[in-house]
Each structure stands twice: as C-alpha cells, then as structure tokens.
Amino acid sequence: MSFLQPAMLLALPVIALPIVIHLINQRRFQTVHWAAMHFLLAANRMSRGYARLRQWLILAARTLAVAGLIFAISRPLSSGWLGLAGGGRVDTAIILLDRSPSMNQIGPGGISKLQTGISRLAESLDRLQANRYVLIESGRREPIELASPSVMKGMPETTPLSETADIPAMLETAAEYIRVNRPSRCELWLCSDVRRADWKSDSGRWDAIRSALADLPQMVRYHLLAYPEVAPDNRSIRVTRVRRVEGNRVAGIRVAGNQAEPSQGARLLISFRIEQTRSTDGTETIPVQLEIGGGRSEFPVEMTGNILEVQDHAVPIDGFQETGWGRLSIPSDTSPADNEYFFVYEKESVRQTLILTEQPVAVRPLEFAAAVAPSPDVRCEVEVASPDQAIGRQIDDIAVVVWQAAIPDPSDPISGVLNEFARRGGRLIFLPPDNPTDSAFAGVRWSRWSDSQASRVSTWVGDRDLLANTRSGEALPVGDLRIRRSCAPQGELTALATLEDGSPLLARAMTPGANVYFCGTTAREEDSSMATSGVVLYAMMHRAIEAGAQSLGSAQQFIAGAVAVENDGQWRQVAGPRDALSSDYARVAGVYQMGDRWFAINRSEEEDLQAVVPEERVSSLFAELDFSRVNDTVGNQRSLIREVWRVFLVIMLIALFVEAVLCLPRRIAKEKGVAFGGASG
C-alpha cells in the first residue's frame, strides 16, 4: 500500500499510546489497607475472565482507532499494482511507452489504448509524485526527461507510430539509464499491449536483460500496465506487391470522378491482402478505397473466410506518370492502424544480375534462371564475369550479385566493392568455391565440402525471405531437393534452410540490410538437384532480384523504423498523418519524398498478427524482479489509484463505537453469597 503523505506514518508508534497509558496507569496504583478482603477476592475472582477479555478488547479498539486515524491522514492509496509500490516518494519514475500500431486500437469513446495508458499513467504518477520523470518511447528509445507526467498527453513523442516496438531494447535503454544516472530509488512503468511482435518474448536477449536488471544496485520496481485486449472484429489490409507496367487498356476499372477509360497504356498491378479476425459465413462485400496521387476511387471486393488475396488488381494510369504513390484503405474499425497501406511505384527498369565466377559453366543454371523474366512486363538481364572484373565495373544498376569464388580477403579491393554493394541494398549471394578459404564476409566463412551421401533439406523458413511460400500459400518444393555435396557456411548467420544433419544450406548474414546470403551448394549436377528441380532456384533468384531491384529504384517500400534515421531530416511528407514529427517520418506510415526518391512507410507484417504474450510468460520474463502487473481495458476512465482514507476513518469510528460499548457499565446478575474462608474476617 502506498500513501500520499507517508511522513504521517512516522506517527505510527502513537498507536502504542493506549497501551502505554494503560501501563502507566497500572504503575500509578495506590496501596490501601483493606478490611473487607473477602468481597474483594470474590469480586476479583468472578470478574477475572470476562474483565480481562474486555480490557484487552478495549485496548485493541483504542489502538485500532488511533491506527485508523493515522492511516487516514496518511492518505492511503488502493490499487492492484500501485498498492504494491510501497510508500514514499521515488527518486526517478521511468515510463516505457509502447507506441506500436496495435496500441492505436480504440475502445468506447474513441480513445485508443495509447491514450488511455498515457492518461492513466500521467494521472497516477502525478498523484504519486517523483523527483524525476523519464520517458522512453518505443520510437527513438532515448530517455526524455519530463517536467511532469501530465505533459505526456500533449507530446508528439507519445503519438502512435507504425513501427513495431522493441520492448527488450527499451528495457536495455532503461537499464543503461539507471546504471549511468544512478537514481536512489526507481520505479519503472511499462505501458504496452503485450503483443508478441513487440515483446519478442522468444528472443535470447531476455536472459541478458533480466540479468542486467537484477544486477542493478538500486531498488527498482517494475510495473506493467497491460492492454492485452484484442480487437474482436478487426480487419486489416496489406499491399503485397505493386507494379507499374506499360500496358493496354483495362476494362472494368472505375476511376473516381472519371468513368472514362484512360487513353494510353500504363497501369498499376496492385496485389493486396485483406484479413479479418471474424470469419463470415457467407460472402461479404468490402469497399476498398484506392488513392493514387491524390485521386480517389473505390471498388468492392467479395470476401469469404478470414483471408482475401487479390492479385494484380489493374488500375489504369497515365502513361507519362512513371513514378507516384498510392494508398489502399478499407473502412476504419477499432484498430485503424491496419486499415490503410501506402505504396509507391515507378516504371520498371531492367533487372540486372551479375554473376562473378571462376567457373562459368558451373553457374549456368543460375544464369538461365535469372535471365527468364517472371512476366512479360519485366526485363531481366544477366552478365557473367570473373571476379577480377568486378573492380572498376559499374554496379550501381545491378540488383543481384552472385559470387562463386573464394571469399575475398577484407584487404582486397574487391571486398570493398562487395561491401559497398551490400550497403546500398543490393542482394549478394555467395556460392561455395571449389577450394574454400578461411576468409569471411559479414562474419561468415565457408567450411569444407562434405561428400556425404545425398541429403535433403529438413527445415526451411517458409514465411519470409527467399524460400517463402508462394502467394497462394503453397510451400516451395524445397524438401524435394537432393543435396549431394554441401559446404556449410559458418559464423553469425540466420539459417533459412537446414539439411538433415543440421548444417545450414541457405543462410543470411547478420547485416543491417539483411541482404547477404550464403548458399551451401551449387546448381551443378554433382552438387545438387537445384538445376533439375529448377522451381526453387528460380523462385529464389527472382525474389532476390526483385528485392535488389527495389533497392535500386527511386520508389522504395520500407517497413517503419527500418530506414536509417540520419536521412529523416531531408524527407518531405506527401501522404500520412499531419501531426507526425519530421524526425519520426521513418516510423510513421505514409509516403515521403527525398529529392527524386519516393518512400512508402508501412507497418511490419508482424503487426497484423494479434498474438499476445501469455501472462505466465510475461511473469517469467521478469522472474526474480520486483514485478507487478495490472490488466487495463481500453477506454477505461477509472483511476488506477484511489484514496481509501474513508475506509480507515470508518474503521476508526467502528473501533471507537466498540470501545464505548465495552466501557458501558455492565449489569450484574445476582451472585451467590460470599463465602468467608475459615474463621478469618
């Protein structure tokens, strides 16, 4: 229990006053020589049991009355979690604020989880008081000192973002702040909706974070204000692909304000997905609003079940409009953050692949796969060269570089060229050379060739990256591949496919752009069946080519928070929320322009998953820490803390009443006569 006036608790020893008075009274006795001793003995004997009980009850009632008075004037607070915070003013209150899109879920009254949490935290902390208030929000994750908790309500740093929060990183920041600033007594308030995407509860970082927090010398209490409530009828929309193609007229598209068909040939092919948590029995028509360059149109889609995938929805545009932006939205629901999606487009450029190898014959299947365009609208070109030719070669327009040779030494100029290519965002795929060396790129090196018997791929990552399932949801036939020889990559990597013996076949290096891959075999007949079972090789190559091509273009899609912060200041907002800070543009969904480049920022795919970390798991993440949690509901206007001095006042009055009743003279029933023992009188 905490108190607004904890200093008054210093008077708690006063509750011993009735006892002290009683004891003093007992000591201040008089001595009387008494004749009628037998009456006295009899009366004392008869009244001993009840009188003693009554005396103790009176004493207890008086003590309770004094205690009730002291507690009442100490202004106690009652609440589930703040009640456990303990009394007294804390030195520093650190507020960790989850600004992820899911916190924008609104409840009754149109108040979002974020607003509710901020309001309740501000009110509670204003009442509890601390010497210093520090805000660490999920966007920049930098400590911001606050004059008072209530200023959070109007701060641009507390508006919702489109970036998925990184709660472990926020806790690391908080731990670092405590370690550096050394507050004497610290309270950490975490406001979050406990989404799995934000908490990353399976991350190995949690052990280190928990250990770091436990090692803090200060007394730190951790409080979680959780909003785990999931929107019951949520519907989200996500654009999965946008292509601008030179093309013919497309019928059946209604453009807002203009029913006429466009006169010349360009169109957008928009693929998008609509998901909803509630499954409808029949078919439901959903109006989808499309905004392209400021012009709006609307078209209906028929939805059955939980997921609707629309492929290449054609929208005619002017032929001269080579670059632009758009927005796809559905009617707003309780979670508005996922009801719209921004995109940018540009005229398709030639997708170039550069294969650097000492054995051109060995990479022939890759050459073929990369050269065949996935659609007639796309042009793909492949160039095969020796590694030496990379120096001085213009690679700015290359989408993918395939490297099949010994990994160049870091001092080698070629290594610099590859590093620059990777930094720019192009996709870089390493294939094992015949004679691997100990050189490493991005922390990954080749092991030795293993000539074991033919092996198969046992596991692979099918929800994202190069081996992701097809748009229709079907898995690539990765398991059908026969791997006859493999040379496993080693080092700091993320395995995308592993063989039956556990060694990685395809891995991604831990680079900032996540764009450097290592494939542990080649497409040669003696190494694998990748060439003969060409689907996997083809899909893998073209996904890499498409991703690499996107990094080259002037119109790029980014996940919120994935863009380097240093570029923020040069961005100009084209579409999106007007109240966003310019420094937060990279974290807020919208369309932005920097020079002649366009950026579309959107929420991550994880945000559409409404999975919540179970309460037990959250408790285990804070195991051995002084942790408490309260589950709140969005839109709840009740205060987290309540003053309960009235309860103690009532207790005091009851105690006084009981004391008065016990002190009333008692009617004595007629007793038996007094027997005088012996002959004494």
Binding site: N25, T31, A35, E671, F676, A679, G681
Partner: protein
C-alpha cells in the same frame, strides 16, 4: 431486665415488688407468706399474689478487636467508633445501677471483665476499652461460643463488630447465645467505602488480616464487589431476623450519638422503660 438486685428495669420474672401483676393458684412449695388470705376468704381457694419484679441489668459488651476493625476510610476507624459506643453504654448502665462487663475478641478472647455495678468498675472497663487495639485475625465465632459457655447468668449481650465472618457459622453463634437466654444486640459497623467501593485508580489492596494482597482496577470489579456486599448484607439480615437478634447496621461516618439513640429508642419501644 434480668438481674439479681432490684433496679430500674422490668424483669421478665415475677417476684417481690410493689407493682401487682396477677393471681395464680397456690402450688405446694410456694411461699406461704405470699398467700392472699382475703382471696381465700372470699373464694375458699388458695391464691398466690404475684408482683412485677424490678431488677438490675447485666450488660456484657463484646468488642471485636480484630485487624479488620482498624479500617476507617475517613476519620475514626470502626474500632474507635465501637469504643465510643461501648463506653457510652457502659456509662449509662453504671449510672442506672446496672452491672457492666467487657469481652474483647480478636484471635481469641483477649480480655474479659466480668459484670459489676460499682462506679470504680466503670473506670476499669473504660481503661480496657481505651487500650483495645485492632490486631490479628478474627475468631469472633469461637469467641462468642466461648462467651456463651462461660456466662451462665442471663445478660444483655451487645456485640460490636464488622461481622466479617462466615454467616452460616455466625448463625450458630447467635443461636448459642439465644439458647443461653441472653438478650443479644448487634452493632454491625461498616465503613461507607466498604459498601460503596468508590475507588478510581488501580489499587493494591493489602489485607488488614492475613497476608492477602489484591491488585485490581476498581472500575473492573466495583460492580461485582458491590453485588457481593449487597448479597452478604441481605443474608445477614435474614439470619438476625430468624435468630431474634436486635440488629443495627451502622455506617461509621454516622454520628455515634444518633446511632446510640436509635438503639436505645428501639429497645425502649420493644420492651418499654419504666
């Protein structure tokens, strides 16, 4: 009054006197001198003439000098009060020509002065009364039984005590005295504090008799104490009523002259004074 010499008190026995009482038939053995010859002449029957016998009084004062009699919450103690009453009664008796004796009882009969009527005897009685001190346990019951056994002649026995004794045993002592034809009067002396128990502070009560000590908060036990005293007095009154004892409960803050007057008036009312 019972006495062997002629005095101021009407004797319960018929005897030689000037006040005619009644005739009765002569029975062999009667004094022939008391035959009424005139009545014989008129009725031819023998009658004996009887007269009211005027005798003197034997007053036996029984004074309880046990430790409990030393209590007095304000002013004189119960013993002091009893001494005044006893001295006054002794004086009145001697002045009327009655004999006065004194028996002081504490743990035993500590002093006995047989009844005499001479003025010089009064001085001796007064000296004993003056020197009596409250000390020791009370053996009043045993003392009264011993007194009853050793006092053969009928007398007016006046007991001055707080009667803090076992009531069932007290009844036996009273019955014993009545059996010996004594006229028994009791001055039951109590302090007002002993009946009302008006203490405020916690008090350590030390017994005037014995070693007992009680520490008590008077507010806790006052009600039960008063109930016990009330019950005791009620039973005592029942006993004295059944034993035909002339009982006078006196609170010692009452003027002793008033108490004495009430006693004498009560006796005069019940027996009459010539």
């Amino acid at each position: 009054m019972v006495g062997s010499v002629s005095g101021m008190h009407a004797s319960p026995h018929r005897g030689a006197s000037v006040e005619f009482a009644e005739y009765r038939r002569y029975v062999p053995g009667d004094d022939l001198r008391r035959l009424d010859w005139r009545a014989f002449g008129r009725t031819d029957r023998y009658y004996v003439k009887e007269f009211e016998a005027d005798t003197n009084l034997r007053l036996c004062l029984v004074l309880d000098t046990s430790g409990s009699m030393g209590f007095g919450s304000s002013g004189p103690s119960k013993l002091e009060y009893a001494k005044r009453l006893a001295g006054s009664l002794a004086y009145l008796a001697i002045q009327q020509g009655d004999a006065v004796g004194l028996t002081c009882i504490a743990e035993r009969i500590v002093r006995t002065i047989p009844p005499r009527r001479t003025p010089s005897h009064l001085r001796g009685v007064n000296d004993e009364i003056e020197h009596a001190e409250a000390a020791g346990d009370t053996r009043l019951i045993e003392g009264l039984h011993e007194f009853a056994e050793t006092t053969s002649q009928r007398a007016l026995v006046v007991i001055l005590s707080d009667l803090f004794v076992d009531l069932s045993e007290l009844r036996g002592a009273f019955d014993h005295l009545r059996f010996r034809k004594h006229d028994v009067s009791v001055f039951h002396l109590l302090d007002s504090q002993e009946t009302q128990f008006e203490f405020r502070r916690p008090t350590r009560f030390v017994a005037l008799e014995g070693e007992a000590t009680v520490f008590a908060d008077p507010s806790e036990i006052a009600d039960r104490y008063q109930a016990a005293v009330s019950q005791y007095l009620s039973e005592l009154k029942s006993i004295v009523l059944e034993s035909s004892i002339d009982y006078h409960q006196i609170t010692i803050d009452e003027d002793y002259e008033q108490a004495l007057f009430r006693f004498l008036a009560h006796r005069n009312k019940s027996r009459g004074v010539r």
